[in-house]
Amino acid sequence: MDAQVSVSDFEIELQLLIDAIYLKYHYDFRGYAEASLKRRLATAMLRVGCASLSQLQDRVLREPETFSVVLDFLTVPVSDRFRDPHFFRSLRESVVPLLRTYPSLKVWIAGCSTGEEVYSLAILLREEGLLERTLIYATDINPQVLKKAEAGVFELSRMAGFTENHQRSGARSSLSDYYTAAYGGAVFDKTLKQHVVFSDHSLATDSVFAEVQLVLCRNVLIYFRRELQDRALGLFREALCRRGFLGIGSKETLRFSAHADGFDELVREHRIYQKKEAS
């Protein structure tokens, strides 16, 4: 190393803020990828009305409500997670036939956010006649977001897009069979939820809690640095049964991970992997 790496004030304050959050609220963001973390905190800072991360830290420490807002910025990408019909089609075609061989199924959706993927999967399993024998563990670190996911109420305006994706994923039924309009939104069929357990879980600090046949963790690992990614992948590898399945985001990859040699590519294009025999 030749020249001294100059660290900006923002970067110093960022580190201090992340440490403060860990010490005070026990949420561990220390292993998160820097570029996206910086961007999210810069946005949070502006929206909360602070001129610096140090000011934000002051408010975060003293005002749990402010921390809650910051937590949302750090953990909820406002993204349309009803997306990716290609992935669900691939799941239906390549993984479901193999899941049928199990008398009972457990699935772990890690980083379930506001639940779109949970309902998408539950509906797919019901259509395939597998939901009755399945338990889905839907976990996230943000308790607010888990509450929303559990409520299963989504904006009606989003249903058109969801319906389209549903059709494009090879659905055998109509999406409107699974929700009703109520409470000013679209409410998903309660019986879907009977097969879901929503729970707090941190990929940074918590352990494996069950053996599962399928893990979905899509577009969550992109926010982690390599070490934390490896930790999460280690948890998935441990949780998966023999020859169990892992689905990650379409532009995520196991290539640079310490766990790359633990998985075979089942459907490369859609990032669906299968745990190796001796893994």
């Binding site: 999210r40 985001g249 995520e252 990859t253």
Partner: protein, 181 residues
């Protein structure tokens, strides 16, 4: 080098990218606005036509010299410590994901005054804030001459907000790129 383009971008890049000679040392990061619901075909389009290696960005890929990286559909592209590519599924910026602003701001943060940012043809203002960030970080800012752009809006928006070092036609930009060491 970061390049942002929208409407008319494929044609514009078809002039620029094949002109880059073998031996160009810098990496290029490109956001071209794409439909979000299908995979990008940009690598298939450009790989056969460029001397430099063309790749679609994936998360955590180490940045290699002399390589052109395209942002994939429906992900933001950032440059992270390493340097490595980083992706995000955070909200669209100016209705765009990938967003030019996100790339340019991230690259400005990482490369500071060693960055060259280019805004080409496009019909929305994504890229304006990003180019401003490149300028603030001490980088070089280049905008396609609006008169020659298929869609001048993006360039005009950038010009109205930020001091720009070079306003050039595509041929001029290509010539500029080939003079870089």
């Amino acid at each position: 080098m970061v390049i942002g383009a929208s409407a008319g971008g494929v044609e514009a890049l078809s002039v620029l990218l094949p002109a880059l000679p073998v031996g160009t040392a810098q990496p290029f990061f490109i956001v071209l606005h794409l439909p979000r619901d299908r995979p990008s075909v940009l690598v298939e389009v450009f790989r056969p036509r460029c001397a430099l290696y063309v790749e679609e960005a994936e998360d955590k890929i180490p940045v290699q010299p002399g390589t052109i990286y395209f942002a994939p559909a429906d992900y933001h592209l950032l440059v992270d410590k390493g340097p490595q590519l980083a992706l995000s599924t955070d909200e669209p910026i100016h209705f765009s994901r990938p967003s030019i602003d996100v790339l340019f701001e991230s690259a400005a943060d990482r490369y500071r005054d060693r960055l060259l940012g280019i805004i080409l043809t496009g019909a929305n203002e994504d890229g304006t804030n990003g180019l401003a960030a490149v300028h603030r970080a001490g980088g070089v800012t280049v905008v396609q001459d609006p008169g020659s752009a298929q869609s001048p809006f993006m360039a005009e928006s950038a010009l109205s907000r930020t001091p720009v070092n070079y306003v050039l036609s595509l041929a001029g930009i290509a010539a500029l790129l080939t003079t870089l060491k």
